[in-house]
Amino acid sequence: MTSTEFFQQLINGLSLGAFYALIALGYTMVYGVLRFINFAHGDVFMIGAFCGYYLSPRLLPHFTGGLTPLGPVAVLILTMLICALLGVTIEKLAYRPLRQRPKLTVLITAIGVSLFLEYGGQFVFGADPKSFPELMPDRAIAGTGALTITTTQLAAFIVTICLLVALTFIVKRTRLGMAMRALSNNPTAAALMGVNIDVVISFTFAQLSIDRSAYGSSPRDQGIRCGCSRRHRKHSGRRRWRNYSRRCGDICRWLGFFNLSRRDRILAFNRDFAFPSSRNFRTCA
């Protein structure tokens, strides 16, 4: 293997790995916070890909002239919203009613949801492979010598890095992230209940297949669900608290993640948070 080949493979690997990292990131967010394996994660990803597939021929023609670069962005944003909606729906219908049940119940449900999406997808979209439309001109970047770096690869890498940084910031620095970490430190499933912040962000971005004739639409999406909950309390006033915390959850859901200036509401939520370790509280407070 020559050194050129080595570096070429390194670049290919890095760009592909960047995609995987994003998927894994969503996975680990759910696992880290809710402590259960979201089997349906990959299927949300699949739905995202198909959203991109069906949306782009309908949306892209509307962006002409100077607006052309915005077309793919619109597709991505719409796809993200759809996946987010899907994530919230799954959570509401399938996972939330099971919050207090044993872990295995949730796991089995997750498998069920995953199978349903997978085969439902086959049912709706058909089982035959589809080639993904071109969202972004895919060409080699000049000036890299013998190495080939395509724009898609570069874009994927940059987006991944940006998202990783953003997520790290959210988890480490914001109140919401603090709440999430506090929650994951306290893994007893029984303690999780009722309220959660269904912040589902789906970052969807499309990658054009290198060989357009090849099958395999490979848009990448990522669904992140951040559930946020509080410890189950046994004393009186439970219902009141539950309503209150649910309201806080709603606020967090709609404002918290996107508008961090509304921290005071989230702060109120966090104040009653049972912190398993005070050390964590201090580091992020």
Binding site: L98, T105, L107, I108, T109, G112, V113, L115, Y119
Partner: protein, 345 residues
């Protein structure tokens, strides 16, 4: 005291009955016969998995892997190594075939049990969803290994297996499986499986070795899955690795959950119900008078599976027949309370 051996008699009766029915099964439509045999195999699989998932509280998602091992070992032995046995016993007659079939089934079961031992070891350290992932991965490993083993046909599958499986064999094995699980759980020794499920720390504190119980559950469950695999191979006469994939494991898990984890009768009933339902869906997908969409959904059985799973978990997590609060079943003569001298307070 009178009914002390009733379980054994029922077992014997079941075996004899399946022998009689099997003897007169020549008249049954071969398609129906096949379904009846599949039901028996599914009962064996589900009841075996119930010992692991329901009674011992472990979570295995790789039961199809054990089944695959049993199927391939049994099929390979009976196809490639039967010549010597037949020569020694004067050709393939009733006696030699019976001997061959029993031994290949047991060999398949033992091979699967050995695999169960290997999977049982991580179960000592892992719990819940971690264990589920490990067993899932294990099932896939087995499938991939078989796919890459040329001696058994690799991805092309293994064909030319003799059709030895009869109604008698299938239901005898199912009856034995049910007997083993029921009589095991209904003993002071077997209650250890339940205590391990309920509280491992407390089990250890009263001297119950959780290690031993977990491994035993895995080994026994895998053994029966292996035997069921052998029956399956000798029933369809053709097996291929993709028939033992994740979906197959899920099928068995659905049976266990549908029946109610930890209820042998419920699980066996669910196995019957689900097998019949899925076969019936084939007909439904052929009914021309039904709307196209219903026929297409019926043709895609996994959609039905997944919906059953989700609905069940949401509405009735203990399964159709499971009783969440378990009543103790007194053993043998223990139903009578011991007479004790009155105690002065």
């Amino acid at each position: 005291m009178k009914y002390r051996h009733i379980k054994k008699w029922i077992l014997l009766a079941a075996i004899i009955l399946s022998g009689i029915v099997s003897h007169f099964s020549g008249g049954i439509n071969s398609y129906y016969l096949q379904i009846i045999i599949f039901i028996g195999i599914n009962i064996t699989l589900a009841v075996g998995l119930n010992l692991i998932n329901g009674y011992t509280g472990q979570f295995s998602l790789g039961h199809a892997g054990f089944m695959a091992i049993g199927a391939y070992v049994a099929a390979y032995l009976s196809t490639e190594h039967s010549a010597g046995l037949f020569r020694a016993l004067g050709g393939p007659n009733f006696f030699s075939i019976t001997l061959l079939f029993i031994s290949v089934l047991i060999a398949g079961g033992l091979a699967a049990a050995a695999a169960g031992l290997i999977v049982g070891v991580p179960s000592l350290r892992l719990k819940g969803d971690y264990l589920a992932i490990v067993t899932l991965g294990f099932g896939e490993i087995i499938r991939v290994v078989i796919q890459n083993t040329d001696a058994v046909g690799g991805p092309r599958g293994y064909s030319g297996i003799a059709n030895y499986t009869t109604l008698f064999w299938t239901y005898s094995v199912a009856a034995i499986t049910i007997y083993v699980v029921v009589s095991l759980i209904d003993s002071t020794y077997g209650r250890g499986f339940l205590t391990v499920r309920d509280d491992e720390v407390a089990s250890e504190a009263v001297g119950i070795s959780t290690t031993r119980y977990k491994v035993t559950a895995f080994v026994l469950g895998a053994f029966f899955a292996g035997v069921a695999g052998g029956l399956y191979a000798h029933s369809t006469t053709y097996i291929n690795p993709s028939g033992f994939d994740f979906q197959r494991s899920i099928e068995i898990v659905v049976m266990v959950i549908l029946g109610g984890m930890g209820s042998t009768a419920g699980v066996a009933f669910a196995a019957i119900l689900l097998t019949l339902l899925l076969e019936y869906l084939r007909f439904v997908s052929g009914y021309q008078w039904l709307p196209e969409i219903i026929r297409r959904i019926a043709a895609n059985r996994v959609i039905i599976y997944s919906l059953v799973l989700i609905a069940l978990m949401l509405l009735r997590p203990q399964g159709l027949f499971g009783r969440l609060p378990r009543r103790g079943i007194p053993i043998g003569g223990a139903t009578k309370r011991a007479k004790l001298p009155a105690l002065s307070a």
